[in-house]
Point group: C2
Chain length 459, copies 2
């Protein structure tokens, strides 16, 4: 290993160097992201409308397009100290394996029990709920990453946590469920008999294994019909990107400390929480015209909202009860083909990232899943860490860029986000090892069906 | 959180402060651990005998009772940089929860894909195999923690890795198996048709689900009958404790840096690899008469080798083919009752730790598993990390000691080893949550059966 002088293999910031404020990209955007619309009136959602569902302080953050820096409350900074700073790692072993002149860095967010960056926003959302004097929060979870993070945050703060978990995941992924139970969350398979919407769906579709859209509907119903509860969400929202900016702020502080400047910044994109967090301060410089970076969003070829979606107002949920957001979308009825294994299955995208992409501040590319798992395995073998399939989308493109540098001889500095670990994704790894994993790229006809469900909104 | 001034919540050593040599406790022991005996001749195993099974350099380390410090080769230090230094964490949130004046610290070894401290010795053993020009190594694994660590080390060095995994684990714990496959290891369910001993056992016991003893026999046969292979082992051996001393050396360096002195040092004990590593430099001071510490080994009440075993020469394996070791043992035929969930199921104990315990340098205590899982859950909820059941044995006793301080008002400093994470132990957690976990303390009659199998050796 040819380590560079004076640059540690893994850079950990000192506690005193950790960010004390989140950064809000919207403050520096000339064109702000379009507001959420009330699906009934098609008027922008007001503070009053939103606070029926979300905590007051979080709604303030959601609607605030102007404040650049939001102080991180001390209680949240204390919690961050439990698992942050996360390391910025120089991928020396991967570079050597690839024989590339490129310098590859990754910010690793998986060293906590939730296994991903989701905890950064979970603790913030739980904190504001607690501060408001609420009893608890509700949410939905698919595979369980977000539900786990929220359970951990609620356990720490002594807040009740009700998680609606898509029934098929509840039954097929009992481990995630047990982690949530360890943290004291109540985990209900959705659809359930505990809500009106759940009972209705069960009556209409007996034996259904559930969907994320249905779980959202149940979680929202419980939050809005129980005194002292609000609903929380792990991605897509502006507030989530704000909290996740801690990833990018730490990364930039670590790079600045050692005089490292990235040429390319790569992140995987599902709803946008990790990508939006990683790029935040770098995008800020770009928006202010101070510095230019190549910023690349990576999405699955089977769920290509940036690369093949439409920039339009659409529902965020399949149940079409949530506000409309203007974003790159495949239509709220779009569901990735069943062979899709690697997460990042949301049909839309953060409105902030959608606007930035629309305005040319970032690129997007899509990759097929077998090539993603190849990259994951190659990375694991040399760098040690077993990556989450989501994270491996970014690894794939980082490797491809490093191989381009090998051809051209360029010594580019590549930064990518390693969002989490793959300990709960081993069924997918097994498929890959057994040669049973396939790729699927939706046809234009497939996409047309999803697009047909996008509402006509004249904005 | 009332953080002490100038002491970080988590202490990470700088790269330049990381240990460059392992520490060998035997050098400071007045009474050395008894040598391994050839089971045929009952004479001490010679270098020549041992090198048929183990790598030359590792046998040298195994037999070296005199060298206090063994330089860590640069290649191993480079690998250590991938996941070390591990953090020394002040358990502020646990202290607050317990309302104890005690100061609790834990050294967390779980932040790597193998999920435990096992990687510290796996990379060392793989390195010396590679240095000797071998093609590969063989080993056995039960639940798969050691097999995973070895697979990672071998993938990094480009060494072949053949793992014999107890068949019942192979079938019931497919996730660990898939992690090993990700790292390129060949994983064979044991007993198998690939060895003489495997075929013999299959012929005699068709349909057997295997045992660790059988898997050891297969791994040893493959190592000794294939050109360019040697056998490696993840615990019990002197060499393993030597490599694991990196845990204690880092811990002591971090404590010394901030002027922290532990009163009590607590570690879980199965074969002794983690405990022996954690206590090494502290025990060194104690052996040299420089300083006194209370050192406590914690074992499951269902497998109580220290607290209820005999100090005698015994076989290390149930197959009775390995050398005899003088240790605290329950008899090589002892198997914990089937309800035992939490690892630490070896019938014997490291010869070094056995001698130290015999000579009064450390204490031992045993705990029941439901109380261990209670401690695990309590810890997870406030400190965030989901602990391995093994590690939770140490948590249990650390909490108990902290509660004693609450009664007496003493501000003791407690250090314990948090060896790993529980992501692959969620079946046991589920049992605990469902109230289906039971305790079992073997009766004297149960133990007598195991003792009956201890050979009569007049040494």
């Amino acid at each position: 290993m040819n380590q560079e002088k004076n640059i540690p293999y893994k850079i950990y910031l000192e506690e005193s160097e950790m960010p004390t404020a989140w950064y809000n990209m919207r403050a520096d955007m000339k064109v702000k992201p379009a507001p959420l619309l009330n699906p009934g009136t098609l008027q922008p959602m007001t503070f009053e409308e939103l606070t029926g569902v979300f905590c007051d302080d979080l709604v303030r953050q959601e609607l605030d397009d102007d404040t650049a820096f939001v102080e991180i409350p001390k209680e949240i900074r204390d919690f961050y100290k439990m698992y942050r700073p996360s390391p910025l790692v120089r991928a020396y072993c991967l570079e050597e394996k690839l024989q590339t002149p490129a310098k590859i860095y990754y910010k690793f967010e998986g060293n906590n029990t939730s296994g991903s960056h989701k905890l950064n926003s979970a603790i913030a959302q739980a904190y504001y709920a607690k501060k408001q004097g609420l009893k608890g929060v509700t949410t939905e979870t698919g595979a369980g990453q977000w539900g786990t993070a929220l359970s951990m945050a609620c356990a720490y703060l002594g807040l009740d946590c009700k998680v609606y978990m898509v029934k098929v995941s509840y039954e097929q992924k009992p481990f995630r469920r047990e982690v949530m139970r360890t943290y004291g969350a109540s985990v209900t398979p959705s659809p359930s008999e505990t809500t009106n919407v759940g009972r209705k769906i069960l009556a209409e579709h007996p034996g259904t294994t559930g969907s994320l859209g249905c779980a959202i509907s149940e979680a929202v119903e419980v939050a809005t019909t129980n005194e002292g509860y609000r609903y929380v969400l792990g991605s897509v929202l502006n507030q989530v990107l704000l909290h996740q900016s801690v990833i990018g702020l730490e990364t930039k502080a670590a790079m600045d400390k050692y005089g490292i400047v990235p040429d390319i910044i790569i992140g995987c994109a599902g709803g946008g929480s990790n990508l939006g967090g990683l790029i935040a301060p770098f995008m800020g410089q770009k928006l202010r015209g101070e510095k230019d970076y190549r910023i690349v969003a990576v999405e699955p070829a089977s769920c290509p909202s940036f690369t093949r979606g439409k920039f339009a107002y659409d529902f965020c949920d399949t149940g079409m009860i949530c506000p409309l957001a203007k974003m790159y979308t495949l239509g709220s009825g779009f569901i990735p083909s069943p062979n899709h294994a690697g997460g990042l299955r949301f049909h839309g995208m953060s409105t902030i990232l959608s606007q930035l992409y629309h305005d040319g501040y970032m690129e997007a590319t899509s990759v097929e899943q077998t090539s993603v798992f190849e990259a994951a395995e190659q990375f694991a073998r040399v760098e040690g860490i077993l990556p989450a399939p989501e994270s491996a989308h970014a690894i794939r493109v980082a490797i491809d860029e490093a191989l381009k540098c090998k051809e051209t001889g360029e010594e580019k500095t590549i930064l990518f986000g390693l969002t989490g670990t793959g300990y709960f994704d081993l069924v997918a790894y097994e498929k890959f090892h057994n040669g049973e994993m396939t790729d699927y790229i939706p046809t234009d006809e497939d996409l047309a069906k999803g697009f047909a469900g996008i509402p006509k909104v004249d904005k």
